[in-house]
Symmetry: none
Subunit: 235 residues, 2 copies
């Protein structure tokens, strides 16, 4: 597998970078947890878990890719099955001080599991079916977008005029619409899909690795900076 690295295979290189970035971020979030105030500690712990879990799976994905040269689809979805619900928990922790309910968290987790199960079937079921399953998966994704823009989460924001909640909601919307949308765009390089003429199939992992860096590490860092700001304000 080392020849892929020697030949500067971009997918192999992003798996290497991704692995180390996830690992380093996990260490960062775990250690900095002690520098933030009470309620933010759990948020930083969850960020540490998300990136730590991803580090383990990037380790497997990197090796799998080096050995086989093909996309480590099963490992990817194993990772997402754990990290996407944890992202929903992160959203919940962010809005809980403003009255977010456990039932909203349950809805988001169920929608994300529907999105992932149908997405996995789509990626493994071949050219005749992947558009159909991709569309189904997108319905799950759009439901999450709906909850944030017009459903339970949005109602929460309307009934409060806290500037802190305003900032939290703005972040949530940006990540859900821009950050998360990189995944379905990546999916569309699969044969038979919209972008399949423009990119090689193997570039699906470039999209997914980029998106993971933005959503797992980037979102964690944004939460971290809010947490640090709030901690200093209360001193």
């Amino acid at each position: 597998g080392l020849d892929r690295i020697v030949n500067s295979d971009p997918v192999a290189i992003t798996f290497f970078i991704g692995y180390m970035a996830m690992f380093a971020s996990a260490v960062f979030f775990f250690v900095e947890r002690s520098s933030v105030d009470g309620k933010w500690k759990t948020s930083l712990l969850v960020s540490g878990l998300i990136t730590g879990i991803a580090a383990v799976h990037y380790y497997y994905m990197r090796d799998f890719y080096l050995e086989t040269g093909s996309s480590p689809t099963a490992f990817r979805y194993v990772d997402w099955t754990l990290t996407v619900p944890l992202m929903c928990v992160e959203f919940y922790l962010l809005t809980k001080p403003f009255g977010a309910k456990g039932s909203t968290l349950t809805k988001l987790i169920v929608a994300s599991l529907v999105m992932l199960v149908t997405g996995y079937i789509g990626e493994t079921s071949g050219i005749d079916n992947n558009v159909f399953w991709g569309v189904l998966s997108t319905v799950g994704y759009l439901y999450i977008v709906y909850e944030v823009f017009a459903g339970d989460v949005a109602k929460l924001a309307k009934s409060s005029d806290s500037p802190a909640l305003g900032r939290a909601m703005f972040l949530l919307k940006i990540f859900i619409t821009l950050g998360w949308s990189i995944y379905p765009i990546g999916y569309m390089v699969l044969p038979g899909n919209l972008l399949s003429g423009l990119f090689e199939v193997s570039s699906i992992d470039l999209f997914y690795n980029l998106a993971d860096a933005i959503n797992k590490i980037g979102f964690g860092l944004v939460i971290y900076s809010v947490a640090i700001a709030e901690t200093h304000k209360n001193k």
Copy 2:
């Protein structure tokens, strides 16, 4: 062994998810232990030990399954021999503030060891004997159910009218009857048993992995949320 992952073998996938979920939960319980009040710290520690022990055994079970394609029965029972008594300790810690006695804990542990030893003999003794040993094992299980619904533990609940004990008892009953019953249902896919026509033998590990997630992680999270609620109430 990697071909099982490539071919989306569901048992292999749940071993991967199970391993990572147990590991992440153990980290979560150990770290969050510092955020709860005195008497809850021990409960969170025990939850961390249960999921941490399970993470190690899932690591072995996953590799064993990837290599051989057969059920890692011995590892499973090694895990249960440690984690089921610890679950009994968890129940004891939950009811101790209301007067639970050490002798009740001893009874529960003895019953669970009877259940596990006979269950192990059943799983390894082949089609002619597994129904017999499964029934014996179920007697041990039903004794535990009896203690909670009508025996020592139930008497405790009757002699107190604390709403906190009421909630703890409710949780205990749900997990003992619904959560734990998934294990004997899984056992019944073995040849010669009730469900052996409906499921493949290999699905026994799907049942066990699901049940472990519910009883080890799910129960731990429920205790955690009670602990957090009680900690905030006392502030």
